[in-house]
């Protein structure tokens, strides 16, 4: 039992499954948006008539959702996650996942090609958002995708129980990381499809990773002495997670991609290779950002005794 302690206590509620879920949701929502913002839904290949970027997006969100459901204590009751939309960010997330999958699925459905035929081509909207119906579906799916990218951070940031999480910087980091990973994944798909990566895309990626670096650093230096957060920072910057945090999250996940992105924008010949390198760096960096955020979630003591030199002997259970 590790509840009710007089010493800072690490949360053990959520770990790697949630980090994978958070990452996949971020990439899933982000790839859908990035494909449209960069105008790359067409021309990068199709799977059964559906743009590759959309297939990647749907798969990421479906797999992420499946991991989340499997991690529940009572997965057969998962439908109840939709109930408390009044206050629970998890409920908001569940609804946004569902709305995204349904609406974005509907959007691309007319393009679905099975055995040479397009059974849903008679649906009355353009799957690329070129008419009113298609545009409306695209906007709804896009809004849902933004919530999908953000809500995991909001789940962590809302309660005051864990000071390291209780900051708007956490959802901001998750949003920026999701956006950066997504742009990088879309560029990877672009390279695989034999299309050239544009300088503008590299500049966008550089701005996102630079913004992520700033968000992380601001979070690290804000309220750094608060009980609970101090212990979290000790683990990230000086303790067991220091190497992974500074190496994989900060250096490989923000600084290096920023440098490579701006270099790639200027250097035409190496741009595609640099885009692939950025993707290879950013996705693990984003995953570790989420996993370490979870792993350094520390509850401060329930009470700090007024007497200096007190030493907790833990929770005694009479034996």
């Amino acid at each position: 039992m590790d509840q009710f302690n007089l010493e800072a206590r690490t949360q053990r509620v959520w770990d790697i499954n949630h980090a994978i879920w958070f990452t996949l949701m971020g990439v899933g929502g982000g790839v859908f948006l990035a494909g449209r913002i960069l105008n790359l839904t067409e021309g990068l290949g199709q799977v059964l008539g559906i743009p590759t970027v959309d297939v990647v997006s749907f798969l990421a969100i479906a797999v992420g959702g499946a991991i989340l459901v499997a991690d529940l204590g009572r997965p057969l009751q998962a439908w109840r996650a939709f109930v408390n939309v009044r206050t629970s960010w998890i409920s908001w997330g569940a609804w946004s996942d569902l709305i995204f999958l349904v609406v974005a699925g509907l959007l691309v459905l007319p393009a679905l090609s099975l055995g040479g035929s397009e059974p849903f081509s008679g649906l009355g909207w353009d799957p690329h958002g070129g008419d009113g119906g298609g545009l409306a579906l695209e906007i709804v799916a896009g809004v849902a995708a933004v919530v999908v990218m953000t809500y995991a951070g909001a789940v962590l940031a809302r309660p005051r129980s864990i000071p390291y999480w209780n900051s708007p910087a956490v959802p901001l980091q998750f949003l920026l990381s999701s956006a950066a990973m997504s742009v990088a994944v879309v560029m990877l798909i672009e390279v695989i499809a034999g299309e050239p990566v544009s300088p503008g895309q590299m500049v966008l990626l550089g701005l996102l990773t630079a913004g992520l670096a700033v968000a992380i650093v601001v979070h690290l230096v804000t309220r750094a002495d608060a009980p609970g957060k101090k212990e979290s920072l000790d683990r990230l910057l000086r303790g067991r997670h220091r190497t992974v945090f500074t190496g994989t999250v900060l250096a490989a996940g923000t600084v290096l991609p920023t440098v490579l992105s701006f270099a790639g924008a200027a250097a035409g010949d190496a741009r595609d290779a640099l885009a692939v390198i950025c993707c290879v760096l950013l996705v693990p960096g984003g995953f570790w950002l989420r996993l370490l955020t979870l792993r350094v979630g520390i509850f401060p003591p329930v009470h700090i005794p007024s007497t200096a030199g007190s030493r907790s002997t833990g929770v005694s259970l009479g034996g």
Partner: protein
């Protein structure tokens, strides 16, 4: 409006753990789940060393973060201020456990262990309704209810809550040092309100969390 609350005079606690055991017995909480333990810690150095005790339990917060975070609506704050977990409705997301600053929620994980005899709904579907609070669902979260079943029983049968043993939380009834007092925080004449007034008000755990707990303390070390 009634708002049930508990005042714990930590200075009176002798660390006997009778409350811990009484709660376990009353609620048949799952293995590893102790709803109302007593934290102890050392102070000073030999030969001037002492032990301090701090009884803890769910704070039944007015602004309960567990209720806010719960996606399924399994955690609810009743009109009388008691925060309860409906284990049948819980989906096991454990969002409440991450949101609670006190560590007052307990996940009944199936680790291949056997629950306390009679406590597992699957193992004992015939547990009569009067012991319904002793049923626990694997994969769900459970917690202290201030022995809401006893309070409800007392109110239904005209017993004075916080005074009559059948209408008072088990931990309060059993405490030999009378360091726990239970009553209506919204009633200025109640035992808890008077005790708080006599001691200049109460303190709460993790005041930084701003949860407005109904479990309050006097004599905190």
């Amino acid at each position: 409006m009634t708002r049930w609350g508990m005042v714990i005079d930590a200075a009176r606690c002798v660390g006997c753990q009778a409350c811990t055991v009484a709660c376990k017995t009353e609620n048949q909480s799952p293995l590893d789940a102790w709803y109302a333990p007593v934290i102890e810690w050392e102070e000073g150095e030999f030969p001037d060393a002492t032990l301090n005790y701090l009884p803890v339990l769910c704070n039944h917060c007015e602004d309960a973060p567990c209720v806010t975070a719960c996606p399924s609506g399994a955690l609810k704050r009743r009109d009388d201020g008691i925060v309860i977990a409906d284990e049948e409705v819980c989906i096991g997301s454990r969002a409440c456990m991450a949101a609670c600053p006190y560590g007052a929620l307990h996940y009944f994980e199936d680790r291949g262990t056997v629950a306390v005899e009679g406590a597992d709904a699957e193992a004992s579907p015939s547990v009569p309704e009067r012991y319904a609070h002793q049923r626990h669902v694997r994969g769900a979260v459970s917690k202290c209810t201030y022995c809401a079943h006893k309070i409800d029983f007392g109110l239904e049968n005209g017993l004075e809550v916080g005074v009559h043993p059948l209408a008072t939380p088990a931990c309060v009834v059993t405490c030999p040092a009378e360091c726990r007092i239970f009553g209506d925080l919204d009633d200025a004449d109640s035992n808890v309100s008077r005790y708080l007034a006599e001691h200049g008000g109460g303190e709460v755990l993790r005041p930084d969390a701003k949860t407005l707990p109904s479990t309050q303390y006097v004599g905190l070390p």
